[in-house]
């Protein structure tokens, strides 16, 4: 699992029911648009993320696309992150002196 994917999964898993638009995810994950949108596109193709167009409250605003994890996406994300944490703990046990840098979402 790549670092950007890990960050995106963590953002969505903070509150799986919340729908987030692209810029919101970008800010939270600290990813540039050129990385995030292809990633979201790929996740959507795999059926892990679903999107819907919603018109915001304010008048004159364009409809925006909101993303959320599908039930399958939630399962996969949790599994992947759990496996990743297990791998990291194993690495830490093997080399206690080495610091494994956590993803930004971990730090919060």
């Amino acid at each position: 699992m790549t670092a950007p994917l890990e960050r995106v999964f963590r953002i969505f898993l903070e509150d799986p029911a919340t729908r987030r638009y692209g810029y919101d995810v970008m800010k939270a994950a600290g990813l540039p648009s050129g990385t995030l949108y292809p990633l979201l596109g790929r996740l959507e193709t795999q059926g892990l993320v679903s999107s819907a167009w919603e018109t915001p409250g304010q008048d004159g605003e364009r409809p925006r696309r909101y993303y959320h994890l599908t039930s399958e996406g939630i399962e996969v994300a949790r599994l992947e992150l759990a496996q990743l944490s297990a791998r990291r703990s194993a690495e830490r046990r093997r080399a206690p002196g080495r610091r494994v840098r956590p993803a930004p979402a971990d730090a919060r």
């Binding site: 638009y21 692209g22 810029y23 970008m26 540039p32 648009s33 050129g34 990385t35 949108y37 292809p38 990633l39 596109g41 790929r42 959507e44 193709t45 605003e61 364009r62 409809p63 925006r64 696309r65």
Partner: protein, 217 residues
């Protein structure tokens, strides 16, 4: 704010460039999505220049993302064959351009010589001969200016001068003095042209040598 409006226009332009690189099936959808994000970023927290820079960075990065991996956006892609065909087309176009350009360049370089040979064959005109002499003299005089001097240029100007003088002399002997045997005209013409060609050959050899000589700085 006026500046922000211009920035928004620039952002829209970048986003439209990015979406043009995407597969047709998802192009419009992505364009609308990115377009909707731009004013939101522009109204986000922070000082105006930072917000503008953030919005432009967002738009510019969509171009990068679309250029690097257009196929990852929706599982669809243009394919390697299409990319190869595009390169093949560009290559063929360049080759075609070169094939047209090379004869044109060669013709432009050889045109003065073709005109000289034509004049020798049909009988010289005084205007052509005299203008040849004048052009040769101007070019020769220019080579005496230190910054314009180089041996190739001097030999080339001598070649043009000799060709012009030869044609003018033939015209004077044939038309003005009204005497001489056709053999004499032929000797004048072809000897003069031979000298001219020899000078031109020397200029060419010097030019070719200077191209292959290592430059000392």
């Amino acid at each position: 704010m006026r500046g922000e409006r211009w920035a928004l226009r620039a952002g829209e332009l970048l986003v439209s460039l990015a979406s043009r690189r995407l597969p047709p099936g998802i192009r419009q959808e992505r364009y609308q999505e990115w377009l909707a994000e731009l004013p939101v970023i522009l109204r986000d927290r922070g000082p105006a220049p930072v917000r503008v820079a953030r919005m432009l960075a967002f738009a510019a990065d969509t171009v990068r993302g679309a250029a690097l991996a257009p196929e990852t956006y929706h599982g669809t892609h243009r394919g390697k064959a299409a990319k190869n065909m595009r390169w093949l087309g560009t290559g063929l176009l360049l080759l075609g351009g070169l094939l047209v350009l090379l004869p044109v360049a060669a013709l432009a370089l050889l045109y003065p010589e073709i005109r000289d040979i034509h004049q020798l064959a049909v009988g010289p005109s005084l205007a052509y001969g005299v203008s040849g002499v004048l052009v040769g003299l101007v070019l020769l005089a220019a080579t005496f200016i230190p910054r314009w001097y180089n041996p190739q240029r001097r030999w080339f100007s001598v070649s043009k001068l000799v060709a012009g003088a030869d044609l003018s002399l033939r015209w004077v002997v044939a038309s003005l003095l009204n005497w001489g045997h056709p053999l004499l005209f032929a000797i004048i013409s072809y000897c003069g042209y031979a000298i001219s060609v020899a000078c031109l050959g020397t200029a060419t050899v010097l030019t070719v040598r200077s191209l292959f000589r290592p430059q000392v700085r």
